[in-house]
Subunit: 591 residues, 2 copies
């Protein structure tokens, strides 16, 4: 029906007869001549209809926005004054000779170029129209390119694409599962997988050696801006590879991807131990596009009288840090108040600051309500350690370590964005040497999942669970966790040690992971892997602010699809077959 | 950890030092020397340990089946008398110098080579062991190769890989949906998709032009041998392509696949109208590896007295056919009785037959209980029309058209298999020109789905729904439907006409397909597509008899996973969150 995509036409096609199919992007009538901007997947081209060709011209007069057309015509150069250098096809136009209206269109509920004026709900209700917009077309095309490139890379590296079940058993990730009632097993439920974790480990036990899958995963969580009930993971697992080798092959994948798709060389990814990331950036996913670091000043403030600082400075569970922000002296009192409110989200009780106006004047050149509490000497020592110069501001955090790290870590990123302090466009890194466990309410919880291998023996682990490190690794790009993984436990004794430390009783082990423990008995190879969040990767690559802009048919924040009206009501017959019923609402007491 | 896969070693590696990782397939002790067959993904290689190397030898003595080893050693030629030509690595062996036991294995519940002796339930319970078998390894590797090849082909042809939702609204395919209770929308349910049908049509409305997805689909059906609750579809859709063009691009895909993966040239696929397929093969998915056809003999039997044939021969709703089977005269009376039972499954009330012993003797050379009812002349006319020769048998079917087609169509395949009458290994074809509707209980039902475009105008369709043909096409290979699709309806008036003929009221249209009907209003392009069943394709390519042999973690026939014990019980807290409860079992009346 079409000889070529109209959006690909250029001067090299001049004088060719072409048949195009597409949508009317705009239609203008200039002195009796009809100009149609015809849109297809590849772009837009101008088609011109003169009043000469009788029937076809009258049809051209009749067309309106979003009509679907088949056009035959000849490509010709535009006159010099009508060349449009903003259009890829702007040097040429198609002189139309035949026009077929393949379908009409009612007036659309919103114009493509006015989408920002309609609410997102309207865009989601008419998703098929919203997807016609350039931005959405580009996002989903890039997504397709990315998955293709990833698959090719993994295929070239000997990974096998193996599907794991969607109807499965509750997974141990800990978030809420989506459940599916079983009709054939009375009162029982499948769970949709939160990840293929256990299945991919079993595939290693089976000897497939290298597995990958671009896998749908599900979590019935309360949705935040960047979450969806179903999301997509680039999931992989390998046997007989060390932590280093796994990191090398996956780093190679992301580097190749950025080269191929974005023409960007990410270079070698630096490694950073978890402890260093927390110390310098207050985050386990530091955004290294920002050079600012948290600077420890605990030692400087131990002996001052000001309790707000001296207290934490003398408490081992606290940290006291400074964050120097380039050019921050320009911030107004009101802006600083806003940032004070911002850090309070993370539990910070205040936000002390010093503005550096004329450092060469010493203490006189600084401006701050807290200098009098710190004293001149300490103040100047802090200035020196942070390297503050004229025009900068130095913020302070002094509280429990977790509060300071989170508050100043977040403030660092927020100020970086607000003041545009980025010094590079892309900043990848690996965060490594995670602790195995964190202490929560007096018990140990796995920092990753309970299948993560430690860097030590079972005996050492049991002796010092609090300081043991794991063989886990996270890939971070621009402050976003792109993916994470670990070498897994492949020996049953180690797996049981970890379960014991986590306080998972034998009955619960058997009930939840019996099949995995069984599998470890029969010659499980050393193995490990990684999972990348595809949606987030695409968000980064397309610079999208919402996950919904990189998914064809996303759910709203209440986990609904306003287009298809899902979830929907079902009838009693269906529920009866499943042997379930809806819980009766409690009726308001009568009288 | 490994320098090379042991299974890839051959004479070209002689004298190389290698490090291998893998499983102990077998371990033998010959005169103090230990021979280990070490297995990895690529195959098996023999490793030899002499009593020389102290520690390593004692470890080699200790290893048992399915232990996981890391072996260092040197590749050397086997002596002429020990070369094993049945093994890919049979010319060489590895002289082991170091051995590390990476993991031990308890005695496995069944030996790899004894899997046929254990029930399938045991194999499924220990699926991770069952998957170590060559057959399963090969099946899943081929599956991975197939999906990779398909993706590459579709990518090369401009198809975009776009994901559609798994949590969605009930789909109109008509089978039972799997339901997922929503926690955030009280009393409402998502449905798992039976196919991405409506979403892919909407993607065409959005202008993506060519879409594909290797998509999980779900049906809560009573399971037959070749069904699974979740199955995988190669799903695609295109815009602005005719039926012919869609068939060409998908035929090209399957042809390329067979060339690449199997080294088989399938050639051009013949086309066969549905009516011809039913007439000649009694099936809409004829197995053309078998040359036998059903031969119409209605005209010959109209005037005989024998009511069993004359009745149907004079009834327009019946058909009377003969099926000649080469070499069938060898069948015993007992065997024929078995086939009579077989056709009774399809409703046939009997199975008349004539054996051809010496056709040159005329009626004397035939053997049959029915010749006396047919009369000599009619009998010989039937023999002539079927072309029966010495050693053949001719079966008869005379009943309602549907019964005869199904019974003799199935008998044709069964006899073809039993007597090995195949004349080719691969026989693909397209079945085309399907009727739009079939009459069931006095109403019209869509033969494909209600979005299939007819080959005529809405007016013509309304006037003659019974004879209207659709633009649907099925790809058939060796008697299996590989895939099916159609040009879709892209105009709203046509879609509504079809809904009217199907008796779907406006309220129901709106309720079920409102968003599709809406989308057709706003410039839907002409579009059409196809879906292939991936599991069946892999079954054919690997010559597997069970769909469970081409899926890594399949469900049993009662839709359960005996390995993970899914579906499982859930606690009341979870049910409360979902606002559902289990239906009370009716208690047996007391007393």
């Amino acid at each position: 029906m079409r000889s070529i995509y109209g959006g690909t036409l250029n001067a090299s096609h001049i004088d060719q007869e072409v048949t195009l199919c597409g949508w009317v992007d705009t239609r203008r009538d200039h002195g009796g001549v009809i100009f149609i901007d015809l849109r297809d997947r590849e772009g837009i081209v101008q088609v011109v209809f003169d009043p000469d060709g009788q029937d076809d011209f009258s049809r051209a007069e009749r067309v309106r926005s979003e009509f679907v057309l088949q056009v035959k015509g000849k490509v010709r150069a535009r006159s010099a004054e009508t060349v449009n250098s903003n259009m890829a096809t702007g040097e040429i136009e198609v002189y139309g000779t035949e026009l077929e209206i393949l379908n009409e269109s009612a007036p659309v509920p919103f114009q493509m170029d006015e989408y920002t004026n309609v609410g997102e709900d309207v865009r989601l209700k008419y998703r098929y129209l919203d997807l016609r917009r350039d931005e959405m077309q580009n996002n989903l095309r890039l997504r397709s390119k990315v998955t293709t490139a990833i698959r090719n890379y993994l295929d070239d590296n000997g990974f096998l694409d193996i599907e794991t079940p969607i109807l499965t058993r509750a997974t141990p990730e800990g978030a809420r599962d989506y459940l599916v009632p079983s009709r054939t097993h009375d009162g029982k439920f499948f769970a949709l997988p939160q990840s293929p974790q256990l299945f991919k480990q079993l595939l290693m036990v089976s000897g497939f050696d290298r597995y990958y899958q671009i896998a749908k995963c599900f979590r019935d969580e309360d949705l935040r801006a960047d979450r969806q009930p179903e999301f997509t993971q680039i999931d992989l697992e390998t046997s007989f590879m060390s932590e280093e080798e796994i990191m090398a092959v996956t780093e190679g994948m992301i580097r190749k991807l950025f080269q191929e798709i974005k023409g960007v060389d990410l270079g070698d990814f630096p490694r950073m131990p978890f402890a260093e990331a927390m110390e310098k950036y207050g985050s386990d996913k530091p955004d290294l596009r920002l050079p600012q670091q948290l600077v420890e000043i605990k030692d400087l403030l131990k002996d001052i009288e000001f309790k707000v600082f001296a207290g934490p400075a003398n408490d081992p569970s606290c940290r006291v840090t400074a964050l120097k922000v380039d050019g921050g002296a320009q911030l107004s009192r009101k802006q600083i108040d806003e940032y004070t409110k911002f850090v309070s989200i993370y539990g910070a009780k205040g936000l002390a600051w010093i503005k550096v106006n004329e450092i060469e004047k010493g203490i006189e050149g600084l401006q701050s309500p807290i200098i009098k509490f710190l004293g001149d000497e300490v103040t100047m020592a802090v200035m020196e350690r942070t390297g503050a110069k004229n025009g900068d501001i130095v913020f302070f955090g002094a509280d429990k370590a977790k509060v300071v790290s989170e508050a100043l870590g977040a403030l660092r990123c927020k100020l970086g964005e607000d003041l545009d302090l980025y010094t590079s466009e892309w900043a990848p890194l690996w965060v490594v040497d995670f602790p195995m466990f964190e202490e929560i309410d007096g018990g140990w919880t796995a920092l990753h999942h309970p299948f993560t291998a430690p860097s030590c023996t079972p005996e050492e682990l049991k002796a010092n669970p609090g300081t043991a490190l794991s063989q886990a690794y996270d890939m971070v790009l621009n402050g976003t966790e792109l993916g994470g993984g670990s070498v897994r436990i492949h020996r049953q004794d180690m797996q049981q040690t970890v379960f014991e430390i986590l306080g998972i009783e034998e009955a619960e082990q058997e009930e939840k992971f019996g099949f995995l423990l069984d599998a470890l008995k029969y010659g499980a190879p050393p193995h490990g892997g990684l999972a990348f969040g595809l949606d987030r990767l695409i968000m980064l690559m397309t610079d999208s602010s919402s996950i919904r802009d990189v998914i064809a048919f996303p759910k709203t924040q209440t986990a609904a699809c306003v287009m298809t009206d899902a979830p929907g009501a079902v009838n009693t017959l269906q529920l009866n077959e499943l042997n379930i019923r809806l819980k009766q609402k409690e009726k308001p007491a009568e009288e």
